[in-house]
């Protein structure tokens, strides 16, 4: 039977005494980095489906269309390999309806990372990505805007027959906007985690860089 009896603050870290084994155990605490990730794109490209599949690890995919009003906020924690850090992603799944355009930036003021989504079966949704990215970037403070990591995601790749946007067109657009290109299918749970992991990783990297900058001017 485990009986952990004492919890003390020892040499700047938490230590725990395990009476059963008569040993002191150090509790390693992870740093939690928090980041605001906004998902934007035209309506019905699958932004909500994408975030839902990611959040439920592919267990949940809604077959019906549920229009998002304003913004939905979801949180998922990812741990960064080879480090003591975890990244808490605050996912702001925004509505793609034009009527909400004016108030969207109020909901996700100053995001840290962005994900633009388009539908590979609709050229129009790819064309409006640049407008969405500009909208997000306009709310980020000047100093941070150039370093904001972003991803362009082509959704619905399971619809092979109806596909009109080639991966090449997608990645050209991503390059033009300074984003990284990914594609996959929320329905089939293909390629969903990669862009989020990449963004969490980029945020972790960015954080370390900023911290070095703080050290330098100390």
């Amino acid at each position: 039977m485990f009986s952990i009896v004492i919890l003390v603050h020892l040499y700047g870290c938490l230590a725990m005494y395990n009476r059963h084994n008569c040993v002191w155990m150090e509790i390693i605490m992870s740093n939690i980095l928090r980041t605001k990730c906004v998902i934007v794109g035209n309506c019905t490209v699958g932004k909500t489906a994408l975030s839902q599949t990611f959040l439920s690890d592919g267990r949940q995919f809604s077959k019906n269309y549920n229009m998002t009003f304003g913004v939905d906020l979801k949180v998922k924690t990812l741990s960064i390999p080879d480090s003591n850090d975890t990244v808490e992603l605050f996912i702001y799944d925004s509505s793609g309806q034009d009527v909400h355009n004016n108030c969207l930036s109020k909901y996700w003021h100053e995001p840290n990372i962005l994900m633009a989504v388009f539908d590979v079966t609709s050229e129009l949704s790819l064309d409006s990505v640049s407008h969405w990215v500009a909208l997000v970037r306009s709310t980020i403070p000047q100093k941070a805007a150039s370093t904001t990591p972003g991803v362009l995601f082509g959704n619905k790749t399971d619809l092979v027959d109806r596909r009109v946007v080639s991966p090449k067109t997608g990645s050209t657009m991503a390059e033009k906007l300074g984003l990284m290109y990914f594609e996959g299918s929320a329905k089939e749970n293909q390629g969903i985690e990669e862009p989020f992991f990449l963004l969490a990783h980029e945020w972790h990297k960015l954080y370390s860089e900023k911290k070095t900058a703080f050290d330098l001017i100390a």
């Binding site: 980095l33 840290n112 100093k143 900023k210 001017i217 100390a218």
Partner: protein, 172 residues
């Protein structure tokens, strides 16, 4: 009445009783009051961010200064209750952006009595920001302690932010 001196120092019994984020060790935030200008506490993303300084006794504060980087809008609140609660607004300042050097700014210059000071960083010029030092000048309020304690009776529990750093650590 004693001389005006620097109060926000660990060696004077001041503690950071709450901070909304910490990176590295969990008492990272004490670097704000370690008396050195080259150590810092930095936020871990998102705004607002909060930290509370608690003095061992109520003190008469005459000025509050901050040394930071990339902080934009910061507000200061005071409380003279036993525990950090029932905060009252003192001031709100928008700091200027600096490039490769610290922001050194005076937040407040008038006299007031407080036991706790709550700093809320409402926005920043970058994704994260850092606080290197907070300087609180004032006198230890030895005689005036009683009159302040008078209005301390019947403080309702669970008012305001009373989370301790330990509780935050428990999440992990």
């Amino acid at each position: 009445m004693g001389e005006v001196e620097e109060l926000a120092l660990e060696s004077r019994g001041c503690v950071v009783s709450y901070s909304s984020s910490s990176c590295g060790s969990y008492d990272e935030c004490s670097k704000i009051i370690d008396g050195q200008r080259n150590t810092y506490w930095c936020t871990t993303g998102l705004y607002p961010q909060v930290f509370i300084l608690t003095f061992p006794n109520p003190v008469i504060i005459s000025s509050v200064k901050i040394r930071s980087y990339f902080v934009r809008l910061i507000s200061l609140e005071k409380s003279s209750a036993e525990s950090p609660q029932r905060f009252e607004y003192v001031c709100e300042t928008e700091l200027d952006v600096t490039d490769h050097c610290h922001q050194v700014e005076s937040l407040h210059e008038a006299k007031f009595i407080a036991r706790h000071l709550r700093f809320t960083i409402k926005s920043g010029y970058d994704h994260i920001c850092a606080v290197y030092r907070v300087e609180v000048h004032g006198v230890q309020n030895k005689s005036g302690g009683d009159e302040i304690r008078d209005d301390e009776t019947d403080i309702p529990e669970s008012v305001g932010l009373v989370t301790t750093p330990k509780r935050q650590a428990g999440r992990n």
